[in-house]
């Protein structure tokens, strides 16, 4: 039997039919919608490279079945830059060298946007590191990542973080 999935992805309404319910949200984004920003690192929820926002909350898209995400709103790295340019978190990652090879970066940035929207860490570097522990960077760019999130937090504070996301 076919399963029909309705999603809003980066603001656009998408309807996808799948035959096999084993398709994860990550595979749906990458293979069916050709949004390859979210990466398949471990495929087990350990590395965070697949992080996207679902209804505003950051999750591991590799541990979510696409059929179970029916009628949700998904935001991926492809959807965060506006007409005026990059998202403040993207700008901050560039300014602080929060990346080297770049493989983990879409997940890091989506996770950081989720973190800022959760409002639990502020610009405290220790809380930022703790709240980003679900995103691994094998190049070890953690120092720059933490600095970037501190700066982005300060840039975005005073604005509504959900609309900023």
């Amino acid at each position: 039997m076919a399963y029909s999935i309705n999603l809003i992805v980066n603001g656009d309404r998408r309807e996808v039919e799948i035959e096999d319910p084993r398709v994860t949200l990550l595979d749906l984004l990458r293979n069916h919608l050709h949004l390859t920003g979210a990466k398949k690192g471990c495929d087990r929820g350990q590395c965070g490279a697949c992080t996207v926002l679902v209804d505003g909350r950051r999750i591991n898209s590799c541990l979510a079945l696409a059929v179970a995400m029916d009628n949700t709103e998904v935001l991926t790295i492809e959807g965060i830059a506006g007409d005026e340019g990059l998202h403040p978190v993207q700008e901050a990652f560039i300014a602080h060298d929060g990346l080297q090879c770049g493989f983990c970066t879409p997940g890091q940035i989506m996770s950081a946007i989720g973190l800022i929207s959760e409002g639990q860490a502020g610009d405290d570097p220790e809380r930022i590191r703790e709240c980003m522990s679900g995103n691994l960077c094998r190049c070890g760019a953690y120092f720059g990542i933490t600095q970037a999130i501190q700066e982005a937090q300060n840039t975005l504070s005073g604005t509504d973080s959900r609309s900023a996301a």
């Binding site: 495929d43 087990r44 703790e130």
Partner: protein, 346 residues
């Protein structure tokens, strides 16, 4: 991952009927189940998605002061609920010490209670099917149990959340073919003995609908602490963890609650240590005796004799931390020994 059929029932009764069919498993956050399915360890032939069932995602204060937490409340939602943090700070801290932010956003309260380690699953499968038994040499003996284990299974219960819950006499509300019932979380789990495949009291079709914290649970908020030792500071299972809840009146302990995680196949309540502390003046001497009593029955299962002494020290330290008072704000590193109790030396 094996193929399965996916269903999304609209009511609890529809879910229970579908869940009672052979091969069915309930899907909530999916963070544990999908991981086990990808590993080929869990192999349900039908997933019953319960995430859209109405009414199970609420946190409700009952008239008598008890708290009813719907089974579909996400771990992060509960851990950041202001009333919850105020009333049960050590439970909030335990939740935040577990997994990663992404997993806590997806994982549910009911799923947290149902989570199983891969080792438990391997042991369970090996005993009921022709699945390959886990090679003991591949098992990391450091993580094995020192309390309540059997030859059939020495894997530990992996949850942080359940440790303070069991100390606070939490109850599990279950909807099944025969109606609704409540079971204490402590009695919800079976010790493995010879049948590690029977982990809980759940029967086919049984669905966890809520966790209930009784009125008394909220009264420990001034003096409670959860401490977790792990191989790295964040995003790791506990080597050993413990919770202490103290009711201190007129300088003496009226009641103590102590439970341990990472040491047994279920969240482990240390009742003899609790009894010993009744009427005592809180302090290192009494706490040291309690820590010794808590581990009196411990024995190493594999390469883990160190966990017994480690557990004694964790119990001592979490008791000192609770006696010092719950923190005003959740620390930057939840439940880390680097965050708690300044001035306590080991």
């Amino acid at each position: 991952m094996n193929r399965f059929e996916y269903l999304r029932p609209n009511s609890v009764s529809e879910a229970v009927a579908a869940g009672a069919e052979p091969g069915s498993a309930y899907l909530a956050g999916g963070t544990n189940l999908l991981d086990l399915m990808k590993a080929g360890i869990a192999r349900p032939t039908r997933l019953v998605d319960v995430t859209r069932l109405p009414g199970l995602d609420r946190i409700e204060r009952c008239a008598d002061g008890a708290l009813r937490i719907g089974a579909l409340v996400r771990n992060a939602t509960l851990a950041h609920d202001q009333d919850f943090v105020r009333s049960y700070p050590s439970v909030a801290e335990a939740l935040l010490s577990g997994a990663s932010a992404q997993l806590r956003n997806a994982a549910t309260v009911g799923g947290n209670i149902m989570q199983r380690s891969r080792h438990v699953f391997h042991a369970a499968l090996a005993s009921v099917s022709d699945a390959p038994a886990i090679d003991a040499s591949e098992e990391d003996g450091r993580y094995s149990a020192v309390l309540g284990w059997s030859k059939a299974c020495s894997a530990v219960h992996p949850s942080d959340f359940c440790v303070p819950l069991v100390a606070l006499d939490a109850k599990v509300e279950i909807e099944g073919n025969t109606g609704r019932r409540e079971v204490s979380l402590e009695n919800f789990y079976h010790l493995p003995e010879d049948s590690p495949e029977i982990a809980t009291v759940l029967q086919p079709g049984d669905l966890i609908t809520a966790v209930i914290l009784p009125t008394r649970a909220g009264t420990f908020s001034p003096n409670t602490s959860y401490l977790k030792l792990r191989e790295r500071t964040s995003y790791a299972f506990a080597l050993v963890s413990a919770v202490a809840c103290l009711d201190i009146e007129d300088g003496k302990i009226a009641e103590a609650r102590i439970a341990l995680g990472g040491v047994a196949p279920k969240p482990w309540r240390a009742r003899s240590a609790e009894d010993l502390l009744k009427g005592e003046v809180p302090g290192e001497a009494a706490f040291r005796r309690a820590a010794n009593v808590a581990l009196a029955d411990a024995r190493p299962s594999r390469d883990n004799a160190f966990k017994i002494e480690l557990s004694r020290r964790v119990v001592l330290r979490v008791l000192l931390s609770a006696a010092n008072g719950s923190p005003q704000r959740l620390p930057p590193l939840p439940s880390s020994p680097f965050s708690t109790t300044p001035g306590v030396h080991q």
